[in-house]
Symmetry: C2
Subunit: 246 residues, 2 copies
């Protein structure tokens, strides 16, 4: 999720043939920068957002920063306490469950639509990703695997050809991203996850919408369980690249 300017709701790809040159506004860039800080965990969950400090760091005044805070709060990444400042949303196990439940539903919907709508080229692209992901698994490259895994999920949603759905998915993924990074993926679960992905891929190849949807739903749900079960276990200290859940 990114720019608020121009066509609210739709995000980054502002390349639209007839779109005016559209320099982005300062507040829009700040929103993106701040969102990354939160999603990537540079601003830790539960931490207070240091307004004055950020202004100095970014070299801007409080106005555009505060506008960004309002937007990020509406996305659920920050909490605004009137007269008391902004805080990075501390995700609760319950909320994490809810988020994954919704994500699983969104991806089921996406997989069903993708099975019907995607082109042969789309399918080939997905096949390539799947292959690279399996290679990363066999090479034991957890970070690379995580990256590719995220791309697979995003791609499936993209292939549903519904921008509204993609935007919602992107927002939800941002909210769970930090938790995902820190979740522990056991060797057994990792293998299982790879298998589940292969099964989804197969169903998509067969253009079996119902099966693809059901499989990806179950897969995401299990991922959610893994993430929730390892939530809170010294989350912050964990080295980002080493331990991930997919």
């Amino acid at each position: 999720m990114t720019s608020v300017e121009k066509s609210g709701g739709k995000r980054r790809p502002r390349a639209k043939s007839a779109a005016p040159i559209a320099r982005r506004s300062l507040h829009d860039e700040v929103t993106e920068r701040l969102r990354d800080l939160v999603v990537e965990g540079d601003l830790a969950a539960g931490q207070r957002v240091p307004e004055a400090e950020l202004c100095k760091t970014l070299g801007i005044s409080r106005t555009p920063l505060r506008e960004a805070l309002k937007v990020l709060a509406s996305e659920g990444l920050l909490e605004l306490h009137p007269n008391r400042g902004a805080w990075v949303t501390r995700i609760t196990p319950q909320e994490l469950d809810e988020l994954f439940e919704v994500i699983s539903g969104v991806e089921r919907m996406a997989a069903e639509l993708a099975a019907k709508r995607m082109s042969a080229k789309d399918l080939q692209g997905l096949r390539d990703l799947q292959e690279r992901m399996e290679r990363a698994f066999h090479a034991g490259l957890r970070h690379e695997y995580f990256r590719l895994n995220q791309r697979v999920h995003t791609s499936v949603v993209a292939m549903a050809g519904n921008a509204v759905l993609s935007a919602i998915h992107e927002g939800l993924m941002a909210r769970v991203r930090r938790a995902r990074y820190h979740a522990i993926l056991s060797p057994e679960r990792w293998q299982e996850s790879v298998n589940e992905h292969a099964a989804v891929q197969a169903a998509l190849e067969a253009r079996d919408a119902t099966r693809a949807g059901a499989l990806i739903l179950r897969h995401v749900r299990k991922t959610g369980e893994v993430v929730r079960n390892t939530l809170g276990e010294d989350a912050e200290a964990t080295d980002k690249g080493a331990i991930v859940a997919s």
Copy 2:
């Protein structure tokens, strides 16, 4: 969707036992007021949002208003053109299709979860609504029917017991609301719609998650078709209460 303050994402019901008294901030109230103006159609689609005028009307300065504009843009209700002002999003047929497609998926998910989770009391409440809706239908009270119909859909989602899902649904409903008001509901389609609701109700009573989900999905999808097909036909001139789609 409403207040940005305090727990981003979660909305109106700020009643939480230990919650601080929490007067809301000005910008938060403005956001809500403005959102209503857009959703209810007092600010017409494609129309420019008159910043200065609104400031005078609401008796506030530009700062909180502009913060509200940013938030509403991120919700997809407004478009911000840098250095050129804010405009009420003009919904395209394509986007309307996408919105209804997502809503149908969201409600399927909700119905499936509700079938499993709702209490006997929840079910009774739904039954009452259904009954009142049918009475409104037989009495030919279109506006009343529309109102109750919206409540049924919102209730089903609420009974899924997932706040994240509810928030998403609320946001989507706000975006299509104007279009729905203006869509033409033929007597035949109206009857059919009532029947579909009865079928969904029956499936929920039987706690048949899959069937309830499939039925509500189809119902919403059809509603979407009706709305899209009557989009653009002198949308603005139509008397609100007279012609609605459900």
